[in-house]
């Protein structure tokens, strides 16, 4: 093989941030694929354009998703990346690993793939970048033997993902890791066999800080919250203040509903006006905590801009208790999927469908009551429709 020359990419090996180029170059001698990825990327840098093609259905037996077919558009020039498919592997809840588990995974990927990964992709999955069609099944077989499974792709459920939650965060109002694991196990069929109008993502954050950006990135966002008053340790509040903390400027003035006051010796909460935004708790983690009556808010419809504009998730359940076996939540998910399946057009996300049919139809079909928490403010126009049973049919 000709010597690999990458003068443009080499300029990305300097500077303080870790360099993916320097990292990849270490594999060049062992991995002809990595040499060709770099050579093709160098060409992209010269020409300012990509050189990949999408194409053909590739996968493993019994699955309809989890592998993304990828091909070079210059296979003669870069034969080692003529086929360069991605495997998505379910991440463990919270992205915790032991070194043993990681090494086992990487050993298989070294044997069958390019040795390139993303830890992790935007879906949450472990992304293994670059292998050939013939290696997909044997690689999968070995992953499976060790207890790992494929993630989703195509018109199916994506691997649910969650924040670090109760494993290492005092803010967590729900057991994000358990819920994430439980839902992933419950919905294996939905995850592995595309059967819907389009993709569906579930993301779970333990509180309104929303560290997995569920409201923006998930069709179904589960965000931990509480219904009683947040808890105040007055002694600890005084310690913050005595150590010079600007409680007025940093906490009181910034509370969005102005429901906190500082008397000089006590922090007083007007609990009925708190919207549980997390700000004060973030600023005084030693003194303030979420209340005891914990559960989650459920929002539906979040998605990126393509196609009917970006949507943030809409509140459809202001509060749901979330305790094992999470039956209420699972029933809700199944009902939503059924409704989407029945009414959705190809490549229509659930948020777009709700927008097209109208929220009132969605709520009625799902047997859910309209609530003021679902809107910022009510409509300003008179063009509302009545159901036949609501008017006198004469």
């Amino acid at each position: 093989m000709a010597e690999l020359k990458t003068p443009l990419l080499d300029q990305l090996t300097t500077g303080p941030w870790p360099s993916f180029v320097a990292d990849m170059k270490r594999l060049v001698d062992r991995k002809p694929t990595v040499a060709d990825v770099l050579a093709q990327l160098e060409l992209s840098y010269e020409e300012k354009k990509g050189h990949w093609k999408h194409g053909g259905i590739v996968g493993v037996m019994g699955y309809g998703g989890g592998v993304i077919g990828r091909y070079s558009d210059m296979p003669e020039k870069f034969p080692n990346v003529a086929e360069f498919h991605t495997m998505r592997i379910n991440q463990p809840s919270g992205w915790f690993y032991t070194t043993k588990a990681l090494r086992d995974l990487m050993k298989i990927w070294d044997k069958y793939g390019s040795g390139l990964t993303n830890m992790h992709g935007s879906t949450g999955d472990i992304i293994l970048l670059g292998t050939v069609t013939d290696n997909l099944q044997p690689a999968f077989d070995e992953f499976s033997d060790l207890g790992w499974d494929l993630g989703g792709s195509g018109s199916d459920l994506r691997t649910p993902s969650c924040c670090v939650g109760p494993a290492r965060c005092e803010c967590a109002c729900i057991d994000t890791l358990d819920l994430c694991y439980d839902l992933t196990q419950e919905f294996q069929d939905e995850l592995h066999r595309p059967m819907w109008p389009y993709k569906f993502k579930i993301k779970i954050s333990g509180c309104a800080n929303d560290c997995v950006a569920s409201i923006a990135r998930a069709d179904f966002a589960i965000i931990g919250t509480w219904r009683d008053d947040l808890k105040i340790d007055q002694e600890a509040v005084r310690e913050y203040v005595n150590s010079g903390f600007d409680i007025q400027g940093v906490v009181i003035d910034k509370c969005p509903t102005k429901c906190l006051t500082w008397t000089g010796s006590e922090l007083v909460l007007d609990g009925s006006n708190c919207v549980r935004c997390m700000h004060c708790i973030n600023k005084m983690p030693k003194a303030l905590r979420p209340g005891d009556d914990k559960g989650a808010t459920i929002l539906v419809g979040g998605k990126a801009t393509i196609l009917q504009s970006a949507f943030l998730g809409w509140v459809i359940v202001p509060f749901m208790k979330l305790e094992k076996p999470y039956d209420e939540l699972k029933d809700l998910l199944r009902n939503i999927w059924e409704w989407w399946d029945e009414h959705g057009k190809v490549r229509e996300r659930i948020g777009e469908l709700i927008y097209r049919k109208g929220m009132r139809v969605f709520l009625k079909d799902l047997g859910m009551d309209p609530l003021p928490q679902m809107v910022f403010r009510p409509r300003a126009n008179p063009y509302f429709f009545w159901w036949p049973e609501e008017v006198n049919q004469g």
Partner: protein
Amino acid sequence: MARTDIGPPHYEQFLPPVIKENYGKWKYHEILKPGVLKHVGETGEIYSVRVGSARLLTIDRIEEYCQLADKYCDGYLRFTSRNNVEFLVSDPAKVEPLLAELKEKGFPVGGTGNALNNIIHTQGWVHCHSAATDASGIVKAVMDELYEYFVDMKLPAKLKISLACCLNMCGAVHCSDIAILGIHRTPPKIQHEWVAKQCEIPTVVASCPTGAIRPNPKEKSVVVNEEKCMYCGNCYTMCPAMPIADPDNDGVAILVGGKVSNARTVPMFSRLAIPYLPNNPPRWPEVTQAIRKLVEVWVQNARPGERYGEWIERIGWEAFFKIADLPFTDKHIDDFIFSVPTFRTSAQFKF
């Protein structure tokens, strides 16, 4: 045959003992210094050392992380939602030696509190077919440029930057303080002869989200109504004979002011600041300089605690364009589906 539908391994086997014991029983946390968190639970403490990492990792780099985790963390580590590695140290005596070794290896420690966190991003020219720009390369260039803000906590508030390499926005970058978005600006070029040979016409027609593609029976190909095309590249996904990449016109747009957290203010979309900057690999100087400037005007003008969008909403977008010295163009006025609520319907504004 391999077992199917087993799902991921149970996370519990990957939790360090102190985390297992204090699961759901954490009392509070402190940021001891940039990148070093101490979480205190009912029966113990854990130190997390957050290390910035490229998202594109080789098995060799992961092995390096494993060696560090074996040496200092009894073999436990995790990754964050923003592609950082967190070393989970149970023995307080091992924190400083770990930090020393990380420093020696050149692994950046930071991203906590009022700092720039790692950039979340998509695949770019390393792996995706519809990319209008690279991902890993710009991210490296921008993080080099803004490094000081990652390893220190001197910003007014958290700063979350993200990048998506085409307007499919796989990473959903639309709610970031600063979003870097790869854009195509010209419709696909149709290679009629190849369309006839390689592509299934009805599938191609159906793939266009705006209905811009019609069959062209004469050529056994298709035509694109260029006025309707929004340069999404879906047709190219279905039909390699309709390439969308255009080196002379592809580039980057920059949006600002989004957030996902509910703290203080409700989640907000990022909004257009700079409609177009050229692709200039390997280091995208126009992009890195524009972002440095955007960060600096915020640092200089925001009040303590104000996220990017909170600052702009307080001063007004007209003031932002002036302070940031950015031209306001017809591209900034929305003409997509839900544009009307963004129009000013008031006589209140600033000059």
